[in-house]
Each structure stands twice: as structure tokens, then as C-alpha cells.
Amino acid sequence: MHPAPSVILFTVLSGLGFGFMAYLSLGLLLVQGGWAFVAWGLAYALAVGGLLASTTHLGNPQRALRAFTQWRSSWLSREAWAAVATLLLLAPVALGDWVGFGLPYFWRLIGGALALATVFCTSMIYTQIKAVPRWHHWLTPVLFMGFALAGGALLGLQGGFATLLLVILAGILAAAFAVGDKQFARAGASMESATGLGAIGSVSVFEQPHTGENYLLREMIFTVGRKHAAKLRVIAVICAALIPAALALMGGLTLTLLALIVHLAGAFAARWLFFAEAEHVVGLYYGKR
């Protein structure tokens, strides 16, 4: 799949933003006054910034409001609802932390749960797609939730707990890579099943249907840059999880900031791989993956 920068930005930033929001909302990081403004401001900037980035890949973003209509069937629509509900519900909480008034804890509880539900909806947009076997696995939501919870804990100055979650994230990433590599074969789709000609014999491409590029080749049959995949995997695990895990244990604002930058770099590498390594079954028709 084509790793569109807008979608990578969206999933990484929003995931981190909503994850951090959950910690703020649940009161796991207690902030007041000016620090509340900074913390909540950062969470909102990440979440909203990511959502705005996602609209830039739309062909007709002026109709984006219509995406709220199909919550009964579409995970993308559910995500839109969850995101807006979270942002609205937590706005008074953020204001309260800053200005200094309290809201009942169940309000914060619902807000925190919704923030995590948003990340879950995002992950389900990818998980539901059967035609991309690498994504169609329960590890995909686990991976997205892992990033949100570990990244949120890092920003939420959770110290040892952040370290624990980041180490778990390293494990999830490694598992997702290992399982993902076997998913295409497990899905059972082949050139023989795609063409239905397997009963005759083994199928290969004799002639492509068109000489130039098209939407399918650009969007779904992305093969550029996979040669560095193995190196990028190591970079993703080390930068997104292991280095920040060590830094989180040491604590301190400067180190946390450094950990955040390293974590983001690793998260971007991991998310780039998430798309670039995902093979769509339509590639079988072109004899490419």
C-alpha cells in the first residue's frame, strides 16, 4: 500500500495525542494552571493536527461532514464520531484543569475511554480490510493501542510504567512484523485463485493490461523502498520503544523531550513500514505484490 505522508502523520500524531489525553483525563498525570494549559494544549494539538492532516488526502474534503453519517457500518465514520466526542467531552475537563474547577470523575473516565476508543476505531479501519492480509489480524488494533498507551505514558511522565509499556510495545512490534510476514500466505489468495485458472495449471502474467501507470499500481501495489525494510524494522523497534524506554526510566523533562523526539521518529518509521509492507491482493492480477 502507498505510504501517504498525510495518513502516516494522522495515525502517528492522533494516536499519540489521544493516548496522552487518556492519561490526562484519567488523572494519571495531574496538571494544574499553566502546566495544564501546556499539557492539554499539546494533546489537542497532536490529536487535531493529525485529524487535519488526514483530511488532506481526501479528494473532496469540503464534504468531510458526510463522514459522520454511516456509523452503523463504517469504522471510518465511527472514528469520526469518537474523535469529535472525545474532543468535545474533554474540553471542559481541560479548561477545568487550567482554570481550576473540577468535574465529576466519571466524566473524566468516559472521556479517557472515548480517547482510547478513537484509537481503536482508527486501527479497525485497517484491520477490517480483508484484501490486505497483513492488516487483517488482531495484532493491528493491539499495535495501535500499544503505540497510544506507551506514547501517552511517555508524555504523561509515568516513569517505570512508561518503560514497561514501551518494552511491551517493542514486543508487539516484533510480533506484528513476524506474524505479518505470514499473513499473505495464510489468506490463501494466489494468482490461481484470483484468476480462477488454477484448475488448468500455474498462472503467470503474459501481458499487462496497460503499459502506463494507474491508480491501482500507485495506491495498492507500492513496492518502492522495501529493500530497506529489514533495517527500518530494527530502527522502528529501537527508536520507537527501546531508547524511549531507557530514557523514561531516567525521567526529567529534557530527557522526556528527547525520548519523545526519538519515539516519534521510530513511530514514523514503523507506520511507514505498516503501509509500505502491506500487500494488497489486487497485486496478484498484475503478478506483483
Binding site: 500500500m1 488526502h57 481526501l58 479528494g59 473532496n60 474534503p61 464534504r63 468531510a64 458526510r66 463522514a67 459522520f68 453519517t69 454511516q70 452503523r72 457500518s73 463504517s74 469504522w75 471510518l76 465514520s77 469520526a80 479501519i125 477490517q128 480490510i129 480483508k130 484484501a131 490486505v132 489468506a187 490463501g188 489468495a189 494468482m191 485463485s193 484470483a194 484468476t195 480462477g196 485458472l197 484448475a199 488448468i200 495449471g201 500455474s202 498462472v203 503467470s204 502474467v205 503474459f206 501481458e207 499487462q208 493490461p209 496497460h210 502506463g212 501507470e213 494507474n214 491508480y215 491501482l216 495506491e219 495498492m220 494488497h280 491482493v281 489486487v282 492480477y285 498484475y286
Partner: protein, 246 residues
Amino acid sequence: MTCLPGHTEKKLGLAIDLDTCVGCHACVTACKGWNDQGYGVPLSDQDAYGADPSGVFLNRVHGYQVQPDTGGAAQTINFPRSCLHCEDAPCVTVCPTGASYKRVEDGIVLVNEDACIGCGLCAWACPYGAREMDADAGVMKKCTLCVDRIYNENLPEEDREPACVRTCPTGARHFGDFNDPTSKVSKLTAARGGFDLMPEMGTKPTNKYLPPRPKDQRQEASLLAPLLDIEAKGFAGWLDRILGKI
């Protein structure tokens, strides 16, 4: 609503005969021609006369070589690929805006372009690459089964079928109702063992493909065999005998 209808009155679709398709791409051209002026925005091209042309097509003809496992000659098979109007269409349910829908009356899967935000998720969900985003209009394009032809009373009756079917010079494409067991497409599918593409994806496609008939056995003897045992007669025969004795 992008929930799928549980049942459709008709199941309109195509039966595509891989035995008779000669790979002439006439269906591709006819489809592009009709859909440049009919339903929705025209199918745009980018850099059409330049070095890197690209454009939207709703039908593509692949060419495959199939090597029998038992040995023998490989077969070349022309393979048109377009929307299969699946019963369990994953492209419909993922749509966040309700632009994608499956019609209850005839099962055709369509896109309401006025509601499409161009997110591309439906194209991701389709295993068959049936949907292509229009780079000019930013909306998703797909086969409409020529919904603006098949019910169009302004057209002569013989033209009320999809453009690809109407144009096919070898009659490799058949249009009809798969819900009706007496329809041409149902009978053809039953008689020829029509099959689904990628059944493991669970999409229950409406369109069926008819398999190529078994190929004749390869001739092991020389192609000149009929000429090798010609017995010369008359003058040529006499000459043959005389020359043979020298």
C-alpha cells in the same frame, strides 16, 4: 445507508467467457467511451498525450499464461477484469459517507458521486481492483453495469445492455439476471461451470467467469507428416523409381 441489503430482487451481472475472449480490448474502449459522457463525472486522463499517460478505466483486460501441471502446451488466456457487483461487497460497508451503495432492486453497486469525499477506503477494501479514483474530480469511479443504458427507453432495445457486452465482437460477455435460473447467464454458468474470483475473500461475487475449454492435445508428429508419405504417381512416379535405382 452503507449497510448491505440482505436480499436483492434481481442479481444483474455479467458472465465472462474466457474461452472466447480474444483480448481485443474493445470492451475497455467501449466502456471508457460510454462512461466519458454518461453517469457521473467523465473518466479523466492525465498527461494523455505525454510521456507518462494515466487515466481511469472501469474495465481492464489482462493476459495470462497458464502452464498445465501435467506438462503440455501452455495456454494464453485473455482476462477482462471489472466490478463483480458482489453480494457481500466490502467496498460498500467501509464507506463513511453513504456514497457507496448496493441497490435493492437489481444488486448493482454504485457510487453517489455527490456524497463521495474521495477517501479511497472502498478501493482498498475491494480485492479485485474494481474501483479507481478519478484524479481530476477526486471521486471514486467504478463499473455501473451501464445503469444508464440498461433501463434507458430512449435507446433501441438491442442497445439496452452494458456497453462492454454490446460491443464485444466475439460474444464473450453476457449480461443478465443471476437470480433468474432461466436467464442466459444462469444457464451458461450452470452449463459451463462458471466460477467466482478469489472466493476465499468471502465477497460472493455476482459476475461469473466461464473457464476456457480444454485445449487440443499438442501434435507430437511433424507438421509435415501429411506430406511425407505421398506416393508419386504417373510420370513423377516413373521418375521416382528410375532415380531410386540409379
